[in-house]
Amino acid sequence: MLKVNNVDKSYGTNGFFKNNKQRILRNINLECDRGECLGIIGESGSGKSTLGRLLIGVEKPDNGSIEIDGKSIYDRENRKENISAVFQDYRSSINPFFSVEEAILEPLKIYKSNKNLTRLIDQLLIQVGLSPVYRHRYPHELSGGEAQRVCIARAIATEPTFILLDEAISSLDVSIQLQILDLLKALKATYDMGYIFITHDIQAAAYICDRMIIFKDGQIQETIETNNLPNVKSLYAKKLLHNLITF
């Protein structure tokens, strides 16, 4: 289980003459089980991505702790093979000088050096709906959807317990969004992983998430089961749903 306990995060400095400190996250508490998809919904600037960076260990919280199965993720050994991430900008997520094969190999070389990697890459590409011939292609030869599939293949390569999906479908075309959501659903069942799905698109969140956290100004407004979404309590969550332009 991924557990976030009383996490605070601020940026800026607290000087003698000037106080530039800006609080981004306040007292965040959340839990996500293996096999569960937890949505984090909020507007831009609400602190969703900051929370994401804390979850994958690239930044540390000012206070509080983040644990997977009772072990702090800030010990690199505990983080190993436990959490990986897929980001919004698939173009900058893959080194342009790396072929698809090299991109997927990068984490594997660190974590799974003894396995038959060539066969594993073929399997991973097939898992994400790409033909093994893609292994020699470079990022500029891929469409947005294909590049994001490569990022997903790289994320599942180490068979992590949790994947952080930070606006992972927002830059994709609508038709591709649905394909990627279906792929993520299928992979979750196959690998028994937990997802933290950060998004501003409630409709996409409702499609894939079991629970949603409504986030505003760095604070959790409400946590609600997806099938109980019409019964949100907080004013902000009600406004989010009310202002949604459905099709």
Binding site: S44, D173, S175, Q203, A206, Y207, T226, L229, P230, F247
Partner: protein, 271 residues
């Protein structure tokens, strides 16, 4: 009354020879809203930048573009500069790149408005404050003295809309103005665009891949695929009875997400 007409527009890359927009024609009536939908790379944005003559130099264009029966394709860059802003106005997807990061918002607004009107600094400030307040921007005077990076994407979008309110353009082109925004900001931007249409009779070209918003705002829809127009009709017909396979595909995929959401909400009041 016909306000904009694009005839046989072709755009291609001179380095690769790749055709980006192929033989595209459409008309826009006064006060109407035409939505251009399609996936990335379909040529939506290039078509609109071709109307503004703002494509990069490596892209060449042929075809005729008439604004109130005046051929824009025949105008020099200097003459075209007078058309942009007052007659043809474009709201860009990313507010952060639409404004110069090195100067405060007020400088932008002044530069644009002084190109088209003989207004003094105070007059410009007054008109802009009024317009910014009407698009729900609080502390407008303070906002004008901020740099783009100090404001959110939604705020910058609304400043671009406020400038449009002051300029009262004949044609307003909105290139994915809601894509980068959250639900609440999206709703507000769409409301403001509808307000512009009602109050100023401006014609709007609305580029988007969000079919929910297109259905709400547009009178007509033009569907583009690989640089070509595959279908064009009024909004109701496109959504109820799409003819082209690609249009059906686009509508069905979005409907899958929407229908699921409606099920979740159990057709409650919010839908």
């Amino acid at each position: 009354m016909k306000i904009l007409e694009v005839k046989n527009l072709n755009v291609w890359d001179i380095h690769t020879g790749r055709i980006i927009v192929h033989n595209t024609s459409f008309k826009l009536e006064e006060g109407r809203c035409l939505a251009i939908v399609g996936e990335s790379g379909s040529g939506k944005s290039v078509t609109c930048r071709a109307i503004m003559k703002l494509n990069k130099r490596s892209l060449q264009q042929t075809g005729e573009i008439f604004l109130k029966n005046e051929g824009l394709h025949q105008l020099s860059e200097r003459q075209m500069r007078r058309k942009r802003g007052k007659h043809l106005y474009m709201i860009l997807q990313n507010g952060m790149t639409a404004f110069d990061p090195s100067c405060v918002i007020k400088v932008h607004l002044q530069e644009t408005l002084q190109t088209h009107f003989d207004w003094k600094e105070k007059e410009i400030e007054q008109k802009m404050i009024q317009a910014m307040e009407s698009v729900n921007l609080k502390n407008a005077k303070e906002l004008m003295h901020k740099y783009p990076h100090q404001l959110s994407g939604g705020m910058l979008q609304r400043i671009m809309i406020a400038l449009a309110l002051v300029l009262e353009p004949d044609v307003l082109i909105a290139d994915e103005p809601t894509t980068a925004l959250d639900t609440i900001s999206q709703y507000e931007v769409v409301e403001q665009l509808m307000k512009i249409r009602q109050n100023m009779k401006s014609a709007i070209i609305f580029i988007s891949h969000d079919l929910g918003i297109v259905q709400k705002i547009a009178d007509e829809v033009l569907v583009m695929k690989d640089g070509e127009v595959v279908e064009q009709d009024d909004t109701q017909t496109i959504f109820v009875n799409p003819q082209h396979e690609y249009t059906k595909y686009l509508i069905n995929t979005r409907r899958a997400l929407s229908d699921n959401f409606k099920n979740v909400m159990r057709e409650s009041l919010y839908c």
